[in-house]
């Protein structure tokens, strides 16, 4: 069994207020619990991780020191900003492993994530944390054995910096993430009249984009739950958001459907999206259709799903 709980579902920046009470205003944070083997995994350390920390202090700490693993989809700020507010890092005896991709640069994951814990940004310096924190950089990995029967695959998704999709499997249950990402597309000039047109690049670029979209679709094939980037509608996407690294809802639904996904959580809602809008969009995109075996919903803070 995998128990999934959403602690933050927003993209870009926290957006608390009267218009986001229902779906929540915290940025990305998802909790996975594996009760049979007593393992705990967190995906992303957006602002939602603060409430998760409170929950863990009340419910887990009394049973013994906290041990968890944090997998970062990437290191953009909305996905790491909650890390300094994850209280267990200040408690001696806590053990945390932080995994995530790093875009090509000299700094290791520790400096990228911990870089926000400098006196100029935050009153506590990273070196002052009491918990034992280990960092490990992840690449594209076909299969990692996480022990206790949990396995993980990762795949590179399409975002302005390196971002990874995760696929966790445990006793036949499969949980996948694919955010922040937008469909791969040919970046090369395709107009033969353009002065820098190159036939090889144009053709291979087309093929590579198509194949990478196929690779991602295969990555989440058959998932019991897929959490997919759905920040924009197709109309919004095409009106100035191409290349920002976020998907049109329509594309997320179409590729999840082709991949035979059982439940699709639309995720990383735009901070401007109100509860009323998300409710209205639910009517458009998630209407129950007798013949559709896939359940579609806009992810909501506090929502729990058992796989």
């Amino acid at each position: 069994m995998i128990k999934v709980k959403f602690w933050g579902v927003r993209g870009s920046i926290p957006c608390p207020g009267p218009h986001t009470m229902k779906y929540g205003g915290n940025t990305a944070c998802i909790e996975l619990r594996f009760p049979e083997v007593n393992r705990h995994i967190i995906i992303d350390a957006g602002s939602g991780i603060r409430d998760l920390a409170n929950f863990m202090l009340a419910n887990d700490l009394p049973k013994g020191p906290i041990s968890t693993e944090i997998y970062l989809s990437h290191t953009h700020w909305d996905h790491i900003m909650g890390f300094p507010f994850f209280v267990p890092v200040y408690i001696p005896g806590t053990s945390i492993k932080v995994f995530g991709p790093v875009t090509y640069e000299d700094e290791p994951l520790e400096a990228v994530v911990g870089g926000q814990m400098k006196y100029r940004y935050f009153p506590v310096n990273m070196g002052e944390l009491a918990g034992a924190i280990e960092y490990r950089r992840l690449k594209e990995e076909p299969l990692l054995d996480l022990g206790d029967g949990i396995t993980l695959s990762t795949t590179i998704i399409n975002h302005p910096i390196t971002a990874l999709g995760y696929r966790f499997s445990f006793r036949g249950a499969v949980f996948c993430t694919a955010y922040d990402t937008e469909p791969f597309r040919n970046l090369f000039v395709t107009d033969p009249e353009h002065p820098s047109y190159d036939e090889l690049m144009a053709v291979e670029g087309e093929e590579a984009a198509r194949e990478q979209n196929q690779v991602l679709q295969e990555f989440f094939t058959g998932a019991d739950l897929l959490v997919h980037d759905a920040q924009y509608t197709r109309a919004e996407y095409e009106k100035g958001k191409i290349g920002w690294g976020h998907s049109p809802i329509e594309d997320a639904i179409a590729s999840a459907r082709r991949a035979g996904v059982k439940q699709l959580a639309l995720f990383h809602h735009d901070p401007e999206r109100s509860d009323a809008q998300l409710d209205a969009m639910t009517q458009v995109y998630c209407a129950e259709d007798g013949g559709d075996p896939m359940r579609i919903f806009f992810a909501r803070e506090g929502q729990e799903i058992i796989l």
Partner: protein
């Protein structure tokens, strides 16, 4: 024997800090420094520099991919990782090369060597087209052609004597290299290819473009094409990489493997020249 060991050690040390070709580095810097780099320009400027191409692909593979999914094309790397990542990789690699360019062979003028490498890359790509190979495969032929002579870069000033001997005795270059230096550029190329973890077929093009009879059958098609391109470029004096008198006895095997007549190869002259000119204008050599 000790003499040979000392020479090899010297070459190994050099391979470890292998420099790029300075001719293109300036252009790389210029293109990558723009905030609005066009994907086409980036792809082109990196792929026209054999050393940089190898290094960028090596970095991409070691930084982002496990052993199973290797990327062998810049076009794909740009689509997958995005323009900025590849741009920054190229930029930092080029800068490191500029700073670290401690030594290069005075015997082979770098511009001439570059022209030879580009010539073989372009010719190999055109030969692949002539053979009717699919468009998507042709980039690998271009890259293999560009990189085939990497093994010559680590040679120091002692190479001057090799080049002089070639002109005097009119023997193939590898024969003279082996006689005077006890190692040839295919063997050194193998060291570089292994250090840079280049893929098996490009490695074979580097290690066997003068010995295609020794290559494994599934790589023969590409290696023979590169060898034929090299033969053509040497014969028509496009650039200069030392091999004034290529081994003619290999020609029938190469033509047969490629399924081409020599007249068809020669018929590509105008297209080859045009492609090289395009590359030269782009790089302002």
């Amino acid at each position: 024997m000790n003499d040979r060991k000392a020479k090899l050690d010297k070459i190994r040390v050099f391979v470890d800090k292998m420099p790029s070709l300075s001719t293109t580095v300036g252009k790389v810097l210029e293109i990558c420094s723009r905030t609005d780099t066009a994907p086409n320009d980036l792809n082109k400027v990196i792929s026209l520099d054999p050393v940089l191409t190898g290094q960028v692909l090596k970095l991409i593979n070691s930084a982002y991919y496990s052993l199973m999914n290797k990327v062998t094309s810049l076009t794909r790397a740009i689509i997958m990782l995005g323009l900025n990542t590849v741009k920054n990789l190229a930029l930092s690699t080029a800068i490191i090369r500029c700073v670290g360019q401690a030594k290069k062979s005075k015997a082979l003028p770098i511009k001439e060597f570059w022209a030879h490498s580009i010539g073989v890359g372009v010719t190999a790509k055109l030969l692949a087209a002539e053979r009717g190979l699919p468009l998507a495969e042709r980039e690998e032929y271009f890259v293999a052609g560009l990189l085939h002579d990497l093994g010559k870069i680590p040679f120091g000033d002692e190479y001057t004597e090799v080049l002089a001997q070639v002109l005097k005795t009119q023997e193939p270059l590898t024969v003279v290299e082996t006689r005077l230096l006890e190692i040839d550029h295919e063997a050194i190329g193998e060291m570089i290819a292994s250090k840079w973890k280049l893929n098996a077929v490009i490695t074979d093009a580097i290690c066997h473009h003068h010995t295609p009879q020794a290559v494994q059958p599934e790589h023969l098609s590409l290696v023979a094409t590169v060898a034929l391109a090299d033969f053509y470029v040497c014969l028509f004096d496009i650039g200069y990489a030392g091999n004034r008198f290529p081994d003619e006895t290999l020609l029938p095997l190469l033509l047969k493997t490629c399924g081409l007549e020599w007249s068809a190869v020669v018929g590509l002259k105008a297209a080859v020249d045009a492609e090289i000119t395009k590359a030269e204008i782009f790089l302002q050599v």
